[in-house]
Protein backbone atom coordinates (compact mmCIF):
# COMPACT_ATOMS: atom_id res chain seq x y z
CA UNK A 1 0.00 0.00 0.00
CA UNK A 2 1.52 3.30 -1.05
CA UNK A 3 -0.35 5.33 1.56
CA UNK A 4 -2.39 7.25 -1.03
CA UNK A 5 -5.13 6.40 -3.51
CA UNK A 6 -4.82 6.61 -7.28
CA UNK A 7 -7.16 9.62 -7.22
CA UNK A 8 -4.99 11.37 -4.66
CA UNK A 9 -1.93 10.72 -6.82
CA UNK A 10 -3.69 12.22 -9.84
CA UNK A 11 -4.79 15.28 -7.89
CA UNK A 12 -1.27 15.88 -6.58
CA UNK A 13 0.12 15.41 -10.10
CA UNK A 14 -2.34 17.99 -11.43
CA UNK A 15 -1.17 20.44 -8.76
CA UNK A 16 2.42 19.91 -9.93
CA UNK A 17 1.45 20.35 -13.59
CA UNK A 18 -0.24 23.64 -12.71
CA UNK A 19 2.71 24.96 -10.73
CA UNK A 20 3.50 28.58 -11.65
CA UNK A 21 0.09 29.55 -13.02
CA UNK A 22 -2.01 32.43 -11.72
CA UNK A 23 -5.43 31.58 -13.15
CA UNK A 24 -7.00 28.28 -14.09
CA UNK A 25 -10.53 27.65 -15.31
CA UNK A 26 -12.18 24.31 -14.54
CA UNK A 27 -15.53 22.82 -15.50
CA UNK A 28 -18.35 22.51 -13.00
CA UNK A 29 -18.37 18.76 -13.59
CA UNK A 30 -14.59 18.33 -13.35
CA UNK A 31 -13.82 17.63 -9.68
CA UNK A 32 -10.33 16.17 -10.18
CA UNK A 33 -8.88 19.20 -12.02
CA UNK A 34 -10.61 21.46 -9.49
CA UNK A 35 -9.08 19.45 -6.64
CA UNK A 36 -5.61 19.75 -8.17
CA UNK A 37 -6.04 23.48 -8.60
CA UNK A 38 -7.28 23.85 -5.02
CA UNK A 39 -4.28 21.89 -3.75
CA UNK A 40 -1.92 24.22 -5.61
CA UNK A 41 -3.78 27.26 -4.30
CA UNK A 42 -3.59 26.01 -0.72
CA UNK A 43 0.08 25.11 -0.78
CA UNK A 44 1.06 28.36 -2.51
CA UNK A 45 -0.80 30.23 0.18
CA UNK A 46 1.07 28.33 2.90
CA UNK A 47 4.41 28.89 1.14
CA UNK A 48 3.49 32.55 0.47
CA UNK A 49 3.95 32.00 -3.26
CA UNK A 50 1.89 33.55 -6.09
CA UNK A 51 -1.86 33.61 -5.59
CA UNK A 52 -3.80 31.05 -7.64
CA UNK A 53 -7.21 32.03 -8.94
CA UNK A 54 -9.68 29.27 -9.81
CA UNK A 55 -12.75 29.95 -11.94
CA UNK A 56 -15.31 27.18 -11.65
CA UNK A 57 -17.38 27.48 -14.80
CA UNK A 58 -21.14 27.32 -14.42
CA UNK A 59 -20.89 27.67 -10.65
CA UNK A 60 -22.97 30.47 -9.18
CA UNK A 61 -20.76 30.89 -6.11
CA UNK A 62 -17.24 30.31 -7.44
CA UNK A 63 -17.68 32.07 -10.73
CA UNK A 64 -15.84 35.38 -10.83
CA UNK A 65 -17.04 36.26 -14.30
CA UNK A 66 -19.78 38.85 -14.81
CA UNK A 67 -19.97 39.10 -18.59
CA UNK A 68 -21.83 35.92 -19.47
CA UNK A 69 -20.65 32.79 -21.22
CA UNK A 70 -18.40 34.68 -23.60
CA UNK A 71 -16.13 35.90 -20.81
CA UNK A 72 -14.14 32.66 -20.46
CA UNK A 73 -13.22 32.87 -24.12
CA UNK A 74 -12.46 36.60 -24.10
CA UNK A 75 -10.44 36.20 -20.91
CA UNK A 76 -8.50 33.38 -22.55
CA UNK A 77 -7.82 35.38 -25.70
CA UNK A 78 -6.56 38.22 -23.48
CA UNK A 79 -3.96 35.82 -22.11
CA UNK A 80 -5.51 35.81 -18.65
CA UNK A 81 -6.21 32.07 -18.47
CA UNK A 82 -2.99 30.16 -17.89
CA UNK A 83 -4.26 26.62 -17.77
CA UNK A 84 -7.26 24.59 -18.84
CA UNK A 85 -8.23 20.91 -18.98
CA UNK A 86 -9.52 19.07 -22.00
CA UNK A 87 -10.50 15.46 -22.44
CA UNK A 88 -12.01 13.61 -25.34
CA UNK A 89 -13.80 10.45 -26.33
CA UNK A 90 -10.71 9.80 -28.42
CA UNK A 91 -7.18 11.22 -28.19
CA UNK A 92 -4.51 10.25 -30.69
CA UNK A 93 -0.71 10.21 -30.77
CA UNK A 94 -0.54 13.69 -32.30
CA UNK A 95 -2.66 15.02 -29.45
CA UNK A 96 -5.68 15.52 -31.67
CA UNK A 97 -8.85 15.30 -29.63
CA UNK A 98 -12.31 14.08 -30.62
CA UNK A 99 -15.34 15.19 -28.61
CA UNK A 100 -17.85 14.49 -31.38
CA UNK A 101 -18.17 10.76 -32.10
CA UNK A 102 -16.94 7.58 -33.75
CA UNK A 103 -17.50 6.50 -37.32
CA UNK A 104 -18.33 8.62 -40.33
CA UNK A 105 -19.38 12.16 -39.53
CA UNK A 106 -22.05 13.48 -39.41
CA UNK A 107 -23.97 10.21 -38.96
CA UNK A 108 -21.59 8.97 -36.27
CA UNK A 109 -22.39 5.58 -34.68
CA UNK A 110 -21.51 6.80 -31.22
CA UNK A 111 -22.24 10.47 -30.72
CA UNK A 112 -20.75 12.45 -27.86
CA UNK A 113 -22.02 15.88 -26.79
CA UNK A 114 -19.89 17.99 -29.14
CA UNK A 115 -16.84 20.24 -29.31
CA UNK A 116 -17.89 22.76 -26.65
CA UNK A 117 -15.13 25.39 -26.54
CA UNK A 118 -12.30 22.99 -27.38
CA UNK A 119 -11.76 24.28 -30.93
CA UNK A 120 -10.80 27.60 -29.34
CA UNK A 121 -9.38 26.87 -25.88
CA UNK A 122 -6.91 24.24 -27.15
CA UNK A 123 -5.33 26.87 -29.40
CA UNK A 124 -5.17 29.73 -26.93
CA UNK A 125 -4.52 28.46 -23.43
CA UNK A 126 -0.73 28.16 -22.93
CA UNK A 127 -0.96 25.13 -20.69
CA UNK A 128 -3.69 22.70 -21.73
CA UNK A 129 -3.65 19.51 -19.69
CA UNK A 130 -5.25 16.58 -21.45
CA UNK A 131 -6.92 14.58 -18.73
CA UNK A 132 -8.76 11.30 -19.10
CA UNK A 133 -8.95 8.76 -16.27
CA UNK A 134 -9.88 5.84 -18.50
CA UNK A 135 -6.68 4.58 -20.10
CA UNK A 136 -7.67 2.17 -22.85
CA UNK A 137 -7.09 1.56 -26.56
CA UNK A 138 -10.61 2.77 -27.36
CA UNK A 139 -9.74 6.21 -25.94
CA UNK A 140 -6.08 6.43 -27.00
CA UNK A 141 -6.35 5.64 -30.69
CA UNK A 142 -3.83 5.83 -33.55
CA UNK A 143 -5.97 8.45 -35.34
CA UNK A 144 -9.14 10.14 -34.07
CA UNK A 145 -12.28 9.72 -36.20
CA UNK A 146 -13.02 13.44 -35.92
CA UNK A 147 -10.65 16.25 -35.03
CA UNK A 148 -12.50 18.58 -32.68
CA UNK A 149 -9.20 20.39 -32.21
CA UNK A 150 -5.74 19.43 -33.47
CA UNK A 151 -2.75 18.89 -31.19
CA UNK A 152 -0.47 21.09 -33.22
CA UNK A 153 -0.94 23.66 -35.99
CA UNK A 154 1.40 25.16 -38.52
CA UNK A 155 1.15 28.62 -40.01
CA UNK A 156 -1.46 30.07 -37.68
CA UNK A 157 -1.42 32.17 -34.53
CA UNK A 158 -1.51 29.57 -31.77
CA UNK A 159 -0.10 30.56 -28.40
CA UNK A 160 -1.58 27.51 -26.68
CA UNK A 161 -1.69 23.76 -26.88
CA UNK A 162 -1.09 20.47 -25.09
CA UNK A 163 1.24 20.58 -22.11
CA UNK A 164 0.80 17.05 -20.77
CA UNK A 165 -1.50 14.04 -20.90
CA UNK A 166 -2.58 12.63 -17.57
CA UNK A 167 -4.53 9.38 -17.22
CA UNK A 168 -5.42 6.98 -14.45
CA UNK A 169 -2.31 5.01 -15.35
CA UNK A 170 0.42 7.39 -16.46
CA UNK A 171 1.72 10.85 -17.21
CA UNK A 172 2.96 11.86 -20.68
CA UNK A 173 4.77 14.93 -21.96
CA UNK A 174 4.04 16.22 -25.43
CA UNK A 175 6.71 17.38 -27.87
CA UNK A 176 5.21 19.93 -30.28
CA UNK A 177 8.15 19.71 -32.69
CA UNK A 178 8.05 15.93 -32.95
CA UNK A 179 4.23 15.86 -32.62
CA UNK A 180 4.59 12.92 -30.25
CA UNK A 181 3.90 12.03 -26.68
CA UNK A 182 6.64 10.66 -24.46
CA UNK A 183 5.92 8.71 -21.31
CA UNK A 184 7.17 10.62 -18.29
CA UNK A 185 6.05 8.29 -15.50
CA UNK A 186 3.74 5.45 -14.58
CA UNK A 187 1.44 5.58 -11.57
CA UNK A 188 2.00 3.26 -8.62
CA UNK A 189 0.55 -0.15 -9.35
CA UNK A 190 1.14 -0.05 -13.11
CA UNK A 191 4.10 -0.92 -15.34
CA UNK A 192 5.41 0.62 -18.54
CA UNK A 193 4.20 -2.53 -20.31
CA UNK A 194 0.67 -2.00 -18.94
CA UNK A 195 0.68 1.49 -20.40
CA UNK A 196 2.00 0.31 -23.78
CA UNK A 197 -0.71 -2.35 -23.94
CA UNK A 198 -3.49 0.08 -23.04
CA UNK A 199 -2.40 2.79 -25.49
CA UNK A 200 -3.49 2.60 -29.11
CA UNK A 201 -0.96 5.14 -30.39
CA UNK A 202 2.82 5.00 -30.52
CA UNK A 203 4.88 7.18 -28.20
CA UNK A 204 8.43 7.65 -26.95
CA UNK A 205 9.53 6.26 -23.61
CA UNK A 206 12.80 6.17 -21.66
CA UNK A 207 14.40 2.80 -21.10
CA UNK A 208 13.49 2.89 -17.44
CA UNK A 209 10.19 4.56 -16.82
CA UNK A 210 10.03 6.11 -13.35
CA UNK A 211 7.04 5.88 -11.07
CA UNK A 212 4.91 9.01 -10.86
CA UNK A 213 6.12 11.15 -7.98
CA UNK A 214 4.22 10.20 -4.84
CA UNK A 215 2.37 13.04 -3.09
CA UNK A 216 4.34 14.29 -0.10
CA UNK A 217 2.93 13.84 3.38
CA UNK A 218 2.36 17.58 3.55
CA UNK A 219 0.44 17.59 0.26
CA UNK A 220 -1.65 14.63 1.36
CA UNK A 221 -2.48 16.41 4.60
CA UNK A 222 -3.60 19.57 2.78
CA UNK A 223 -5.58 17.51 0.28
CA UNK A 224 -7.31 15.45 2.95
CA UNK A 225 -8.02 18.45 5.10
CA UNK A 226 -8.58 21.86 3.60
CA UNK A 227 -8.99 20.84 -0.05
CA UNK A 228 -11.59 18.17 0.73
CA UNK A 229 -13.46 20.81 2.73
CA UNK A 230 -13.33 23.25 -0.18
CA UNK A 231 -14.39 20.55 -2.62
CA UNK A 232 -17.50 19.72 -0.62
CA UNK A 233 -18.93 23.14 -1.47
CA UNK A 234 -18.90 22.70 -5.25
CA UNK A 235 -18.48 18.92 -5.60
CA UNK A 236 -20.16 17.35 -2.54
CA UNK A 237 -20.52 13.87 -4.04
CA UNK A 238 -16.88 13.78 -5.06
CA UNK A 239 -15.70 14.99 -1.66
CA UNK A 240 -17.70 12.19 -0.03
CA UNK A 241 -16.11 9.66 -2.38
CA UNK A 242 -12.62 10.85 -1.47
CA UNK A 243 -13.46 10.54 2.21
CA UNK A 244 -14.84 7.04 1.61
CA UNK A 245 -11.75 5.86 -0.26
CA UNK A 246 -9.60 7.11 2.56
CA UNK A 247 -11.51 5.12 5.17
CA UNK A 248 -11.27 2.00 3.05
CA UNK A 249 -7.52 2.51 2.66
CA UNK A 250 -7.12 3.06 6.41
Amino acid sequence: MPGYSNRELIIATIADLLDGIRHVAVGASSPMPAAGAMLLRARNEIAKRERVRISILGSEEHNFFTNGGVELFDCTAQGRVDAFFLGGGQIDGEANINLVGTGDYPQTEVRWPGCFGSAFMYYLVPRVILFREEHSPRVFVPKVDYISAPGVSDGIVRPGGPHALLTGMALFDFDKQKKRFSLRSVHHGYTAADVRAATGFDYDAPENVPETKAPSAENLAILRGRVTEELSESYPAFAEMLRGERKEAA
Binding site: Q107, C115, F120
Partner: protein, 273 residues
Amino acid sequence: MGEIVSLEELAAEVQPGCKLAVPADYCGVAMSATAAIIANRPKNLHVVCVPVTGMQGDMLIGEGLVGTLETSAVTLGEAGGAPRFQDAVRKGSFKLMDATCPAVHSGLIAGQKGVPFLPIRGIIGSDLLKTRTDWKTIQNPFSDEEDPIIVVPAIQPDVSIFHAPEADRFGNVRIGRRRELLTMAQASKATIVTVERISEESLLKTEDSAAGVLPALYVTKIAVAPRGAWPLPLWGEYGVDTAEVARYAAMARTPEGFAAYMDGFARRLREAA
Protein backbone atom coordinates in the same frame (compact mmCIF):
# COMPACT_ATOMS: atom_id res chain seq x y z
CA MET B 1 -42.79 45.80 -26.83
CA GLY B 2 -42.60 43.70 -23.69
CA GLU B 3 -46.33 42.89 -23.82
CA ILE B 4 -47.52 40.47 -21.15
CA VAL B 5 -49.54 37.62 -22.69
CA SER B 6 -50.60 34.02 -22.05
CA LEU B 7 -48.19 31.13 -22.49
CA GLU B 8 -50.16 30.03 -25.54
CA GLU B 9 -49.95 33.42 -27.20
CA LEU B 10 -46.24 33.53 -26.46
CA ALA B 11 -45.66 30.06 -27.91
CA ALA B 12 -47.47 31.06 -31.12
CA GLU B 13 -44.52 33.33 -31.97
CA VAL B 14 -42.53 30.22 -32.87
CA GLN B 15 -43.61 29.56 -36.44
CA PRO B 16 -42.66 26.58 -38.65
CA GLY B 17 -39.23 26.98 -40.28
CA CYS B 18 -38.11 29.81 -38.04
CA LYS B 19 -34.63 30.23 -36.62
CA LEU B 20 -35.04 29.79 -32.87
CA ALA B 21 -32.29 30.66 -30.37
CA VAL B 22 -32.23 28.90 -27.00
CA PRO B 23 -29.84 29.32 -24.08
CA ALA B 24 -27.75 26.81 -22.14
CA ASP B 25 -29.23 25.15 -19.05
CA TYR B 26 -27.44 27.53 -16.64
CA CYS B 27 -29.05 30.60 -18.24
CA GLY B 28 -32.72 29.76 -17.72
CA VAL B 29 -34.47 27.48 -20.22
CA ALA B 30 -38.15 28.13 -20.95
CA MET B 31 -39.39 24.55 -20.43
CA SER B 32 -43.07 25.39 -19.85
CA ALA B 33 -43.03 27.40 -23.06
CA THR B 34 -41.29 24.51 -24.81
CA ALA B 35 -44.26 22.29 -23.98
CA ALA B 36 -46.59 24.98 -25.32
CA ILE B 37 -44.49 25.27 -28.50
CA ILE B 38 -44.49 21.50 -28.97
CA ALA B 39 -48.30 21.54 -28.75
CA ASN B 40 -48.33 23.78 -31.85
CA ARG B 41 -46.01 21.40 -33.73
CA PRO B 42 -43.97 24.00 -35.65
CA LYS B 43 -41.93 21.85 -38.06
CA ASN B 44 -38.50 22.36 -39.56
CA LEU B 45 -37.13 24.66 -36.85
CA HIS B 46 -33.56 25.86 -37.14
CA VAL B 47 -32.49 25.71 -33.51
CA VAL B 48 -29.46 27.82 -32.55
CA CYS B 49 -28.10 26.75 -29.16
CA VAL B 50 -26.39 29.51 -27.21
CA PRO B 51 -23.97 27.87 -27.14
CA VAL B 52 -25.21 24.38 -26.08
CA THR B 53 -28.49 22.68 -25.23
CA GLY B 54 -29.81 19.80 -23.16
CA MET B 55 -33.26 18.46 -22.46
CA GLN B 56 -35.02 21.25 -24.36
CA GLY B 57 -33.14 20.57 -27.59
CA ASP B 58 -33.47 16.82 -27.11
CA MET B 59 -37.25 17.14 -26.73
CA LEU B 60 -37.67 19.30 -29.83
CA ILE B 61 -35.58 16.77 -31.77
CA GLY B 62 -37.54 13.84 -30.36
CA GLU B 63 -40.77 15.50 -31.43
CA GLY B 64 -39.44 15.76 -34.98
CA LEU B 65 -39.61 19.55 -35.02
CA VAL B 66 -35.95 20.26 -35.75
CA GLY B 67 -34.80 20.71 -39.34
CA THR B 68 -31.41 22.18 -38.49
CA LEU B 69 -29.44 22.06 -35.26
CA GLU B 70 -26.64 24.58 -34.72
CA THR B 71 -24.88 23.78 -31.45
CA SER B 72 -21.56 23.35 -29.68
CA ALA B 73 -22.89 20.40 -27.67
CA VAL B 74 -26.00 18.55 -26.57
CA THR B 75 -25.90 16.87 -23.19
CA LEU B 76 -28.12 16.09 -20.25
CA GLY B 77 -25.22 16.87 -17.90
CA GLU B 78 -24.93 14.40 -15.03
CA ALA B 79 -27.74 12.34 -16.55
CA GLY B 80 -25.51 11.58 -19.54
CA GLY B 81 -25.89 11.86 -23.30
CA ALA B 82 -29.01 13.24 -24.97
CA PRO B 83 -30.76 10.13 -26.31
CA ARG B 84 -33.10 11.61 -28.94
CA PHE B 85 -30.23 13.74 -30.26
CA GLN B 86 -27.92 10.74 -30.49
CA ASP B 87 -30.56 8.67 -32.23
CA ALA B 88 -31.43 11.43 -34.71
CA VAL B 89 -27.73 11.98 -35.49
CA ARG B 90 -27.31 8.30 -36.31
CA LYS B 91 -30.36 8.43 -38.57
CA GLY B 92 -29.37 11.76 -40.13
CA SER B 93 -32.82 13.15 -39.28
CA PHE B 94 -31.78 16.79 -39.46
CA LYS B 95 -29.05 19.05 -40.75
CA LEU B 96 -26.31 19.17 -38.13
CA MET B 97 -24.24 22.34 -37.76
CA ASP B 98 -21.68 21.44 -35.12
CA ALA B 99 -20.08 24.56 -33.64
CA THR B 100 -17.70 25.63 -30.90
CA CYS B 101 -18.97 27.85 -28.07
CA PRO B 102 -17.03 31.08 -28.78
CA ALA B 103 -17.97 30.93 -32.47
CA VAL B 104 -21.66 30.91 -31.52
CA HIS B 105 -21.08 33.91 -29.27
CA SER B 106 -19.16 35.71 -32.03
CA GLY B 107 -21.89 35.01 -34.57
CA LEU B 108 -24.50 36.46 -32.24
CA ILE B 109 -22.32 39.47 -31.42
CA ALA B 110 -22.02 40.09 -35.17
CA GLY B 111 -25.84 39.93 -35.30
CA GLN B 112 -26.06 42.29 -32.34
CA LYS B 113 -23.68 44.75 -34.01
CA GLY B 114 -25.29 44.54 -37.43
CA VAL B 115 -22.03 43.52 -39.08
CA PRO B 116 -21.87 40.61 -41.53
CA PHE B 117 -19.18 38.67 -39.65
CA LEU B 118 -16.72 38.54 -36.77
CA PRO B 119 -13.19 37.14 -36.80
CA ILE B 120 -12.18 34.46 -34.31
CA ARG B 121 -8.90 32.71 -33.47
CA GLY B 122 -8.51 28.94 -33.22
CA ILE B 123 -10.71 26.53 -35.25
CA ILE B 124 -8.31 26.18 -38.23
CA GLY B 125 -7.37 22.51 -38.52
CA SER B 126 -10.55 21.36 -36.77
CA ASP B 127 -12.89 19.07 -38.71
CA LEU B 128 -15.63 21.55 -37.84
CA LEU B 129 -14.57 23.39 -40.98
CA LYS B 130 -15.38 20.38 -43.17
CA THR B 131 -19.09 20.90 -42.61
CA ARG B 132 -19.18 24.51 -41.43
CA THR B 133 -18.65 25.80 -44.94
CA ASP B 134 -20.43 28.95 -43.80
CA TRP B 135 -17.28 29.77 -41.82
CA LYS B 136 -14.57 31.22 -44.01
CA THR B 137 -10.81 31.60 -43.69
CA ILE B 138 -9.41 34.98 -44.67
CA GLN B 139 -6.02 36.65 -44.46
CA ASN B 140 -5.79 39.02 -41.47
CA PRO B 141 -5.83 42.38 -43.28
CA PHE B 142 -3.58 43.86 -40.57
CA SER B 143 -0.72 41.40 -40.95
CA ASP B 144 2.09 41.59 -43.49
CA GLU B 145 2.89 37.94 -42.88
CA GLU B 146 0.65 35.04 -43.79
CA ASP B 147 -1.95 35.00 -41.03
CA PRO B 148 -5.12 33.08 -41.82
CA ILE B 149 -8.04 33.70 -39.47
CA ILE B 150 -11.59 32.37 -39.36
CA VAL B 151 -14.56 34.68 -39.90
CA VAL B 152 -18.01 33.49 -38.82
CA PRO B 153 -21.18 35.01 -40.28
CA ALA B 154 -23.69 36.93 -38.18
CA ILE B 155 -26.39 34.84 -36.53
CA GLN B 156 -29.77 36.55 -36.63
CA PRO B 157 -32.44 34.38 -35.05
CA ASP B 158 -36.08 35.03 -35.88
CA VAL B 159 -37.04 34.33 -32.29
CA SER B 160 -35.08 33.86 -29.10
CA ILE B 161 -36.66 32.39 -25.99
CA PHE B 162 -35.59 32.01 -22.37
CA HIS B 163 -36.88 31.86 -18.81
CA ALA B 164 -35.99 34.50 -16.22
CA PRO B 165 -36.82 35.17 -12.58
CA GLU B 166 -38.61 38.44 -13.14
CA ALA B 167 -39.92 41.04 -15.53
CA ASP B 168 -41.45 44.38 -14.61
CA ARG B 169 -44.80 45.59 -15.93
CA PHE B 170 -42.96 47.81 -18.41
CA GLY B 171 -41.49 44.76 -20.14
CA ASN B 172 -37.93 44.93 -18.77
CA VAL B 173 -36.47 41.53 -17.88
CA ARG B 174 -33.95 40.66 -15.19
CA ILE B 175 -31.01 38.68 -16.62
CA GLY B 176 -28.32 39.34 -13.97
CA ARG B 177 -24.90 38.23 -15.11
CA ARG B 178 -26.27 36.15 -18.01
CA ARG B 179 -25.14 38.66 -20.60
CA GLU B 180 -25.49 36.15 -23.45
CA LEU B 181 -29.25 36.60 -23.05
CA LEU B 182 -28.87 40.27 -23.93
CA THR B 183 -26.68 39.49 -26.93
CA MET B 184 -29.11 36.79 -28.06
CA ALA B 185 -32.11 39.10 -27.73
CA GLN B 186 -30.43 42.03 -29.46
CA ALA B 187 -29.36 39.78 -32.34
CA SER B 188 -32.89 38.37 -32.73
CA LYS B 189 -35.84 39.84 -34.59
CA ALA B 190 -38.17 38.85 -31.75
CA THR B 191 -37.57 37.74 -28.17
CA ILE B 192 -40.08 35.93 -26.01
CA VAL B 193 -39.54 35.41 -22.30
CA THR B 194 -41.25 33.46 -19.56
CA VAL B 195 -40.80 34.64 -15.98
CA GLU B 196 -41.50 33.47 -12.47
CA ARG B 197 -43.23 36.74 -11.61
CA ILE B 198 -44.00 40.30 -12.69
CA SER B 199 -42.69 43.19 -10.61
CA GLU B 200 -44.79 46.33 -10.24
CA GLU B 201 -41.68 48.40 -9.74
CA SER B 202 -39.39 49.21 -12.67
CA LEU B 203 -36.26 47.06 -12.78
CA LEU B 204 -34.45 50.09 -14.14
CA LYS B 205 -35.15 52.03 -10.97
CA THR B 206 -31.79 51.59 -9.26
CA GLU B 207 -28.30 51.41 -10.73
CA ASP B 208 -27.78 48.00 -9.17
CA SER B 209 -30.88 46.38 -10.59
CA ALA B 210 -30.58 48.18 -13.95
CA ALA B 211 -27.13 46.71 -14.55
CA GLY B 212 -28.68 43.23 -14.92
CA VAL B 213 -31.63 44.11 -17.13
CA LEU B 214 -32.64 43.32 -20.70
CA PRO B 215 -34.61 46.46 -21.66
CA ALA B 216 -38.19 46.15 -22.94
CA LEU B 217 -37.01 47.57 -26.28
CA TYR B 218 -35.72 44.10 -27.15
CA VAL B 219 -38.56 42.06 -25.63
CA THR B 220 -41.52 41.11 -27.79
CA LYS B 221 -43.72 39.10 -25.44
CA ILE B 222 -43.63 37.95 -21.84
CA ALA B 223 -45.68 35.22 -20.15
CA VAL B 224 -45.78 34.28 -16.49
CA ALA B 225 -44.77 30.64 -15.93
CA PRO B 226 -44.06 29.75 -12.30
CA ARG B 227 -41.23 27.20 -12.10
CA GLY B 228 -41.09 27.63 -15.85
CA ALA B 229 -37.60 26.13 -16.20
CA TRP B 230 -38.52 22.89 -14.40
CA PRO B 231 -37.01 20.30 -14.36
CA LEU B 232 -33.99 22.43 -15.33
CA PRO B 233 -32.59 24.96 -12.86
CA LEU B 234 -33.17 28.69 -12.68
CA TRP B 235 -30.25 30.77 -11.38
CA GLY B 236 -30.87 32.35 -8.02
CA GLU B 237 -34.22 30.55 -7.73
CA TYR B 238 -34.13 26.75 -7.82
CA GLY B 239 -31.80 23.90 -8.71
CA VAL B 240 -32.12 21.14 -11.26
CA ASP B 241 -34.56 18.32 -10.49
CA THR B 242 -31.93 15.60 -10.88
CA ALA B 243 -34.36 12.71 -10.49
CA GLU B 244 -36.69 14.06 -13.17
CA VAL B 245 -33.88 14.61 -15.66
CA ALA B 246 -32.58 11.09 -14.95
CA ARG B 247 -36.09 9.75 -15.48
CA TYR B 248 -36.21 11.55 -18.83
CA ALA B 249 -32.75 10.27 -19.77
CA ALA B 250 -33.80 6.69 -19.07
CA MET B 251 -37.19 6.85 -20.77
CA ALA B 252 -36.03 8.78 -23.84
CA ARG B 253 -33.64 5.98 -24.79
CA THR B 254 -36.39 4.56 -27.00
CA PRO B 255 -38.91 6.44 -29.16
CA GLU B 256 -41.71 4.73 -27.24
CA GLY B 257 -40.30 5.70 -23.87
CA PHE B 258 -39.84 9.25 -25.08
CA ALA B 259 -43.45 9.37 -26.29
CA ALA B 260 -44.62 8.08 -22.93
CA TYR B 261 -42.55 10.70 -21.10
CA MET B 262 -43.84 13.53 -23.27
CA ASP B 263 -47.40 12.32 -22.80
CA GLY B 264 -47.36 13.36 -19.21
CA PHE B 265 -44.85 16.22 -19.46
CA ALA B 266 -47.24 19.14 -19.81
CA ARG B 267 -49.33 17.80 -16.95
CA ARG B 268 -46.30 17.42 -14.67
CA LEU B 269 -45.23 20.98 -15.58
CA ARG B 270 -48.57 22.22 -14.28
CA GLU B 271 -48.17 20.17 -11.11
CA ALA B 272 -44.63 21.43 -10.55
CA ALA B 273 -45.76 25.06 -10.91
